[in-house]
């Protein structure tokens, strides 16, 4: 039996092209060694779980395994959104937030580690069928960004602004533009929550004076956090603050004072002309006429460096006339494609066999799969066919069992 295990290991290793079999043996050792480790840390050495919770160290050895996002990191990153609602509920039931280390995330992490940051920011566009794990991949990358000391510009879900905006007001400074000030202020709080620790460490200052009104202005040379605070306190100027903040960060990043990771979920919503933002005159506003759009269009351009841009396109993020395909160029539309080109498309697919097995094992471990039949080979097979290897569907199929 041990022989078989090693045989599997080696074949797996050759498949993935990993040279060091010994390394793997050490990581997932069997028999006698395993019992020692099981005694020390029973919970973490399992075939579906990895103890490595530092995304900086994640590599293909950890693929298909779950890693835990620490509670404080979760609070810092996702307190104001970022994880899908159902996933969050799941995390609550499991008493932990676990994310599977999957290929697309590893691929992006690899690029982020090896890219040349003196060159223009590279745009990565994550695409895939809905429910395949685009947002979870983003969460993994965000965790990486936080650990690697990136300044995070994270938009949890753009369609929220285009569909359920909280307040619409005409822009004071720009003719024909519309502000979503409450949403902007909320985003600023999110930004502050994610980056306050980092911003206190590195000294970023406002490069020019911003005059908000006759009496209010932000002086040149004050810390960047003050600009954020101003937007939060004076909600009226929140939208303008976001634009100013993003431009400042871009400038600082280009000058090499900080590294910036832009993570935007549902980016294609910026390029679909139909929104539910309506002015007081009941006129529908296209995204290009919303001030917030400008900020995030600006930061996803190529003309800055020391940063990376990771976006997702999602067909559920736009109106139903653009839902025929989830492929990125179709989702972005002509305008969006021209804005992002050249970008690196990253596909997030359905679970592979191994990933599905690992996920089912994890559910059993978390007592989420309780039905006796689901422990049998037949039950697992049935679950596999019911969900069609789609992670979200698997989650829903397993829910009542």
């Amino acid at each position: 039996m041990v022989y078989n295990f090693f045989k599997n290991l080696t074949s797996e290793a050759t498949l993935r092209g990993i040279s060091s079999v010994l390394h793997k043996q050490r990581l997932f050792c069997t028999a006698a060694q395993a019992s020692q480790i099981l005694a020390t840390n029973e919970k973490h050495i399992t075939s579906f779980r990895t103890a490595e919770s530092n995304p900086l160290k994640h590599n293909f050895d950890h693929a298909y395994r779950f890693y835990t996002i620490p509670v404080e990191v979760k609070n810092q990153l996702f307190q104001h959104g970022g994880l899908p609602k159902y996933f969050n509920e799941q995390a609550k039931a499991f008493m932990e937030t676990c994310v599977m280390v999957r290929d697309p995330a590893l691929e992006i992490l690899h690029y982020l580690k090896t890219a040349d940051y003196s060159r223009p920011a590279i745009r990565y566009v994550i695409y895939g069928e809905s429910g395949c794990g685009k947002s979870i991949t983003l969460a993994h990358i965000l965790h990486y960004g936080l650990t690697a000391g990136f300044l995070l510009i994270h938009v949890p879900w753009v369609p929220n602004w285009m569909r359920v905006c909280k307040e619409v007001s005409n822009s004071a400074t720009r003719e024909g533009y519309v502000d979503l000030n409450l949403d902007a202020a909320e985003w600023l709080i999110h930004f502050k929550n994610q980056n306050a620790a980092l911003l206190n460490n590195i000294d970023l200052r406002v490069s020019k004076e911003y005059a908000w009104s006759k009496r209010e202005k932000t002086e040149e040379g004050v810390p960047l956090l003050e600009l954020v605070e101003h937007g939060i306190n004076r909600v009226k100027y929140a939208s303008e603050c976001v634009v100013a903040l993003v431009k400042e960060i871009k400038l600082h990043s280009t000058q090499g004072r900080c590294k910036t990771l832009v993570v935007i979920d549902g980016f294609n919503a910026f390029f679909h002309p139909r929104t539910r933002v309506v002015t007081a005159e009941k006129i529908q506003v296209p995204p290009s006429k919303i001030t917030l759009t400008e900020a995030f269009i600006e930061i996803t351009k190529y003309d800055w460096c020391n940063g990376a841009v990771i976006l997702t396109v999602d067909k559920t993020g736009v109106a139903d006339d653009r839902r025929e395909s989830f492929l990125p160029i179709y989702q972005l539309g002509k305008e969006g494609f021209e804005h992002l080109d050249p970008f690196v498309p990253i596909s997030v697919r359905e679970y592979s066999e191994k990933e599905l097995e690992s996920c089912l094992d994890y559910y059993v471990d978390r007592r989420w799969l309780q039905n006796e039949k689901s422990f049998t080979e037949e039950g697992r097979k049935e679950l596999k066919y019911l969900c069609g290897m789609n992670p979200r569907r698997l989650m829903h199929v397993c829910a009542p069992l």
Binding site: E89, A93, N371, E372, G379, E382, P400
Partner: protein, 236 residues
């Protein structure tokens, strides 16, 4: 039963005595007069393991060359299929909206799991921890078993007075009553609370031998106990 026996005696030219309608139906393979299936049709066996056991025991030979009725839409060979849950779904169903009914029950099961998992994680003592039941199906079965009454009251008129007479009930009837009570208890709720959520709580409570449904059962038993003096009216 007596008139029925007489009818069958005359129809089948045999002296048959059945004291139970169910047995009768099984014995004579009684079919609905307007059924699309003739009396030679047998019920389908849609469970894989049942089929296999029939092959092993040789029982299959009896029905191998007999026409079989088409399986019903809710007959599935899924390993997760449970006959009681299926029955319960049909009772929850209104206006034939079975998909909705099934969704509601699945949601309730999920909720049960969440409630119980929370309990499981919040108990510190490892011994107590293992005793927390987290399988929603087991909880459902336990709840049903706990809510099944063994007696019921039936009005019988004697000497111009109607007495509530305690009578024993069949297993099927008591199962039906238990399911009905659970559903009624789940429907008795604040409009803001969703049905699955309330249902989940009711099931969890009943599984723990407490809650509204179990109380209702106990009330009924108590009343039967109180009316035991009328018990003889059942046959006299």
């Amino acid at each position: 039963m007596a008139p029925l026996n007489m009818v069958f005696g005359s129809v089948l030219r045999k002296n048959i005595i059945f004291n139970n309608a169910e047995v009768l139906y099984k014995r004579v393979n009684l079919v609905n007069a307007y059924s699309m299936y003739g009396p030679q049709f047998v019920e389908p066996v849609y469970k894989k393991d049942k089929q296999e056991s029939m092959y092993e025991s040789g029982e299959i030979e009896n029905i191998l060359h007999v026409p079989v009725k088409a399986a019903r839409v809710d007959a599935t060979c899924s390993v997760f299929h449970d006959e009681l849950v299926r029955k319960f779904t049909n009772l929850v169903m209104r206006d034939g909206r079975k998909i909705l009914a099934r969704e509601l029950i699945e949601e309730a099961f999920e909720k049960i799991k969440r409630i119980q998992l929370q309990r499981y994680h919040s108990t510190e003592d490892p011994e107590k921890k293992t005793s927390v039941l987290t399988d929603p199906l087991k909880i459902f079965h336990a709840a049903l078993a706990n809510s099944k009454p063994v007696l019921q009251l039936t009005p019988i008129k004697r000497g111009g007075v109607t007495y509530q007479v305690p009578v024993p009930i069949t297993d099927k009837r008591s199962q039906f009553l238990a399911m009905k009570w659970i559903i009624l208890a789940a429907k008795d709720k604040d409009p803001k609370v969703h049905f699955p959520e309330k249902l989940a709580w009711e099931l969890v409570d009943a599984a723990g031998n407490q809650g509204k449904v179990v109380k209702k059962k106990q009330d009924l038993h108590r009343q039967c106990e109180a009316n035991r003096a009328y018990a003889h009216y059942r046959w006299s």
